[in-house]
Symmetry: none
Subunit: 415 residues, 2 copies
């Protein structure tokens, strides 16, 4: 099945917004065995949208449009669709009821503009949108399926995953595809590629492999398309079994696993608890831990100590340590981790102290320097890292991920 | 001047790479007064590239192609260009010398593939590429300029900035453009649109306006293209002055401003300090605050209290309040905010306690229920919100953004 994506919005054409929607849709379609032949971004204006529709309608079996379905007047998609499909906007009572219900739940007054969102092209099938007020629209014309969804990412994702792909599957328009992502940590992409060269060279015909790097986590995606799901699944799983022999110790999970979730599960299974003391990571490490549903079972809490006084008052760091070694030091990291472990009465604790940037670096302690301490039953270690680059956000993310990795390895008794 | 961008690469169409190149080029062109009318992404194959070229050539004064100029065999752009411009590849000695020099400097052996990079369409002007081995190519046909640059971001950026835009400027092909984004919070897109209807109807010819919604923040972008930068700037700024009268109190910043940054600047200017007590937001509120460079000037830190015991021990919440009203209550939010304010000895404090989901909801306190308390010199308030939807991450983001908004309004004495 050949598909085109049309993303609509002035903000895309002035470069204010990067088109992450198109990439997300392309990936999901690809995983469902749908080939994307073209992605077109056009402004919120009649003629460009219409032209893109005409072109896509002539070349593709599936056309996915995003954006331009909001209540405001800069959104012209619905009218253009009416023109293209030779239909008119009609009031759709079920959509209106859903919009009313949403506003009622949130205790907000509806405006006439919201009522307009219940105006739907007569020729389409409405795809209910549980995440917002603008429903998805499904059209068919000359054997081509056209789907229009809002541009708000979580609404778009919901509609594609829960409404569009299942309907295509039902119609037999998607192929069997099996994919698995192997998550690794603590190894650079190039080193990984070297270790896996032999394995990669021997992958069976049809198994596709891609490296998806991100800060500190390298994901390996294996996928295979075929007629029979059981068969392709068996082939891919067999290759993953082989893969594990090449890089034991670096794999921390699969697919949507997150380091915080994997680590949290281990704590929950052992009935053990965790607390965190943060300086340079400023709350982000706690955020990663508490992003996991159910984390309150093992996570007791954290202290972000952004001043020396708070490090002393709330974590019991000694004044002399701060004065002698500075806030970014092994001494202080260790006192922070022991302080939070005692005060929160937990089994495990992690602490970070470093220089996230963009200011604050010195020749001895450049931006990106961080000390991370981790403590468990009867054990305590501290490690020093110097991450390259002075980008604050990246240093915060890297320090937090590394802290989780150390925690995981301590729980696994690898430290 | 109207332009189209064509980005070439299989990786874009399987969603493995997000098309940040297109957004970057669009923004730079926009700032130079070049209007981007369409962005098309096509795979590394002859027919789709040619089709995109033909369409762009018919509609635009400027066509920018990126990608497909590398040495490997999946790069077909140069051959397609030869077909479209009815020319042939010839060996270009100066380019060859530059490639040789690069390899010599980096002490790498050249391969025959690298020699191919000196093969250049005869009809084009070569744009020297100081950042890599593939030069940019500049063609003119029927008054339209076509430029092809490599897809490697830093090579592309160098060629656009140092070679393409200066040449266009010389030819008098760039216009003046001015745009400004107004950031609002605490008001839904539809309500905003209603309040601004009159203002929008009276916008002068040529001023374009777009709503860019995201969770809890709605951005309004105004832009205008013209011959004279000072004039278009004056027109847009005048409209923003009018706009402010329609929605006072909802505007928190402009362009790239963030709520945490705007609020932080106010604290820094007043020499005042801040601390945070978090329950349901789990560290994310602190993270937003500490994401801002220089936040250590006003932010002293935070406590994430994920259990009742920690709320009592570290924040001084009373056991009776927890037992009588529950952890998610006005009482507990207020005791948390006063506790953290006293312990951290700060001027302002914020506290959150709620049910982020996906579990933990009850009929009286459904998922999305949150109490947010804010305290300043001699003042303390608590507010109750019920956010719709049981998505943990969204509830955390919304609660944190709302907490920052309440803090900002308290500092502004609007509470």
């Amino acid at each position: 099945m050949k598909a085109e994506i049309i993303t609509i919005g002035d903000e895309l054409l002035i470069g204010q917004v990067v088109d992450t929607n198109a990439a997300w849709i392309a990936r999901e379609c690809n995983l469902a065995g749908i080939e994307i032949c073209r992605i077109t971004s056009v402004p919120d204006s009649r003629q460009p949208i219409l032209e893109a529709l005409v072109h896509a309608g002539e070349h593709a079996d599936l056309v996915i449009l995003t954006g331009g379905l909001g209540p405001t007047r800069d959104d012209r998609t619905k009218k253009v669709l009416c023109g293209y499909f030779d239909t008119r906007l009609v009031f759709h009572q079920p959509t209106f009821e859903e919009i009313k219900e949403r506003f009622k739940q949130r205790n907000i007054a509806m405006t006439p503009l919201n009522r307009n969102q219940a105006l739907i092209p007569e020729a389409c099938t409405v795809l209910p949108n549980k995440m917002g007020t603008a429903p998805g629209l499904w059209f068919e014309k000359n054997n081509t399926v056209f789907v229009a969804v809002p541009g708000v990412p979580y609404e778009m994702k919901y509609l594609i995953t829960e409404q569009v792909l299942p309907r295509l599957r039902e119609k037999g328009k998607t192929k069997a595809i099996y994919h698995r992502t192997v998550l690794t940590q603590g190894i650079a992409e190039s080193v990984l590629a070297e270790k896996l060269e032999e394995w990669e060279d021997n992958l069976p015909e049809g198994v596709r492999m891609a490296y998806l790097p991100s800060p500190l986590v390298v994901r390996l995606r294996l996928s295979m398309v075929g007629e029979d799901l059981q068969r392709v699944k068996k082939v891919v799983e067999e290759e993953i079994r082989k893969l594990m022999k090449y890089i034991p110790g670096y794999i921390f999970g699969y697919d949507e696993d997150q380091l915080a979730g994997v680590t949290g599960r281990m704590l929950a299974e052992k009935n053990q608890t965790l607390a965190v003391a943060e300086s340079c990571t400023g709350g982000y490490l706690s955020h990663l831990i508490t992003s996991i549903p159910g984390s309150s079972v093992y996570f007791k809490g954290s202290v972000t100590a952004y001043t020396n006084t708070i490090k002393q008052d709330l974590l019991g760091v000694r004044k002399e340590s701060l004065e002698t070694f500075g806030a970014v030091s092994r001494q202080v990291a260790e006192e922070m981790v022991m302080g939070v472990k005692e005060r929160f009465k937990v089994d495990y604790a992690v602490a970070t102290t470093g220089i996230a940037g963009p200011g604050g670096g010195t020749p001895e302690k450049p931006i990106g320097t961080v000390w991370i301490a981790v403590a468990g039953p009867g054990k305590r270690y501290a490690y020093n890292y110097v991450f390259a680059g002075d980008e604050r956000e990246r240093n915060i993310i890297r320090s937090s991920q590394t802290a989780l990795q150390l925690l995981r390895r301590m729980i696994l008794k690898e430290l």
